[in-house]
Amino acid sequence: MDAYREIILLLAATMRVATPLVLAALAGLFSERSGVIDLALEGKMLAAAFASAAVASVSGSAWLGLGAGIAASSLLALIMAFACVTHRGNQVVAAMAINIVVAGLAPALALAWFDQGGQTPQLDGPGQRFLGLAWPWSQAARRHPFPGLAYAELVSGHNLIVYFAVVLAPACAWVLFRTRFGLRLRAVGENPLAVDTAGISVNALRYQASMISGLLCGVAGTYISTAASAGFVRDMTAGKGYLALAALIFGKWRPYPTLGACLLFAFADAGASRLQGVALPVVGVVPVQFILALPYVLTILLLAGFVGEAVAPKAIGVPYSKEK
């Protein structure tokens, strides 16, 4: 029974860890499918984490915080698109610039506005955070472990953003593979010249994809600072944007496999903190750092073609210009 309980709790933790990864990875899915490398996931999330926590603490509303987070992240997406799509700048350089600017700007503004050493005030007022929602009978269900605990921990008890992430992958798959917009988006990432010839604006499509990425990263960042924790602290995304990118590559730029990769990475992460110092059968004690490095090692192996093959959108990273 204890093992069962542990597994349920581990799965529930996996869902919570996976949420920002799923949001960010699917954000990256749109921009990368349109042909723009999205290394700026990290910066966009961090900016959203700061903006949402700052606005939530001042206004007292998590929803206003969410709006601010999305606005901040979308603004960065817009700057990135301006540099890379309009001015055909180097996408990797622009993204690194955005990540570094945010890493400096967010704590600098936090210090200036809140005077708490680069953090935002603790979000403890009513309505300042996205808290878990208890579904009907979830308390009563806990008493009957077998389906009850699973219901209480896995179905009930999460905040709205987690449920949003749950439905996001099917939604993205539908948009990408079942709508005209999705078809064009995929085409522009593979062969922008053909899309242009068909009389559709390559730049407009790439801007739209960037804005979707900005929106989803905004939700992801808001989750990190107002749902998973209670306020913004320096560098709080801690590489999640790059991890999401790894998941996107690991999922071969497709929605469901990407979701699977996010869950796998989140499971490893959630498991790592529980396995600290625990001796496993066969392998003994596995150092936490090895488990944390696992997603990156797996992604490299995949990119190397040792485990399957990852084929990127053909036109990724190449600025499009009509004159060519």
Partner: protein, 367 residues
């Protein structure tokens, strides 16, 4: 295809970076104003903090040394058309290489320990860069992604080693024991004292000489040898390089190994020159500063030297600033660094075209 206008050399290498830097500084100034402090006095504090005394000059040069290594590392890869974001991880592992030698034979004569430790730093850094290079050259794995992943793997590996293997027994913090006396890179003030010149004691050490030699090496290698020529051709046009009998995979491996070796030398400055032990996260983001430095220095060793000194001054001045202005902290420097990358790298065409128009006829020619 490139709509980029051509500028005269002096504008390309001097004016344009300066304009970009000014744009970054102006924007940072506007943000400082928004915060409610005076940008002008912030600038004065920073300049004073960076070059106002022997102490601060020493620290500025010490930081600059780190950035020269990582900036050169980024630039060598750039010349081969590769974007090495893995400088941070290569520097981290390079430091491990230097540190292991220092821990093992730190009590021997410095004349033996120091060269061996430098060589070891280069080899370890180069080895860490070799993995993504090989994957790019032989398996076609995107080097930007793999070098980022290697940064995280380096960080996990070093945490593991420091927490479980290298930690000084009986100590809480994950640091190795102190290096032996033979593994200390002589400080500049100590060396100057031999010549009867007094200079304030700072971490500014002889690794800076190594950095200058590295600049010279990169200049000679890139512009005066056939290998450097092959590397540049391959970076400009890989297909033309193949027709010229140059093998792109070989170039990728060579460029990245040199790049990683240069980044690895950061450990010589940080660990042997200043910390005298291996500790967590000693590169402290210098690998990423290298990107800004290389972009601003237009990938030329002289430019990188100047840009590194500038960033060294920013880092040192920035810490001074955070002492004196309670509402401004060192994050402001990270912000400026990011803006420099933005303006010098991603948005360089914004200023290039007006400048070309301003400078008249020479700028009109399109490539």
């Amino acid at each position: 295809m490139k709509a980029a206008a051509k500028l005269p050399r002096w504008a390309e290498y001097g004016l344009l970076p300066l304009v970009n830097l000014c744009a970054a500084l102006l924007l940072s100034g506007a943000i400082i104003r928004m915060i409610g402090e005076s940008p002008w006095s912030a600038l004065k504090l920073m300049v004073d903090g960076a070059v106002g005394s022997q102490d601060s000059i020493g620290y500025t040069c010490f930081y600059a040394t780190d950035f020269i290594f990582t900036g050169l590392a980024v630039s060598v890869a750039f010349h081969a058309g590769l974007f090495n974001i893995g400088g941070e991880g290569q520097a981290y592992i390079g430091g491990l290489g230097a540190g292991l030698v220092c821990l093992a034979i730190g009590t021997w004569s410095p004349w033996i320990v120091i060269p061996l430790a430098i060589a070891s730093a280069c080899v370890f850094g180069a080895a860490w860069a070799f993995i993504p290079a090989w994957l790019q050259a032989r398996r076609g794995s995107h080097i930007v992604i793999t070098t980022i992943m290697m940064n995280f793997i380096a960080s996990a590996l070093m945490t593991y080693l420091l927490v479980n293997v290298l930690i000084n027994p009986g100590q809480q913090s994950p640091e190795s024991r102190e290096f032996g006396p033979g593994a200390v890179m002589p400080a500049v003030d100590v060396v100057l004292a031999h010549f009867g010149i007094t200079f304030a004691p700072t971490p500014f050490n002889m690794a800076s000489l190594l950095a200058l030699l590295a600049c010279l090496f990169v200049w000679v290698f890139i512009w005066k040898t056939r290998w450097g020529y092959a590397l540049r051709v391959s970076g400009q046009n890989a297909r033309a390089a193949v027709y010229a009998g140059i093998s792109p995979p070989g170039i990728i491996l060579a460029a990245m190994v040199i790049s990683g070796g240069l980044a690895g030398c950061l450990g010589v400055n940080e660990l042997m020159g200043s910390q005298h032990r291996i500790l967590l996260d000693f590169p402290g983001g210098a690998g990423f500063v290298g990107i800004a430095v290389a972009l601003m220095g237009r990938n030329h060793p002289v430019g990188i030297l100047i840009a590194s000194l500038l960033f060294g001054a920013l880092y040192q001045g920035g810490s001074q600033l955070s002492f004196d202005m309670p509402h401004v902290n060192r994050d402001m420097v990270v912000l400026i660094q990011g803006l420099v990358i933005l303006f010098c790298g991603a948005l360089e065409n914004i200023f290039r075209m007006p400048l070309a128009a301003l400078l008249g006829g020479a700028g009109r020619a399109k490539t």
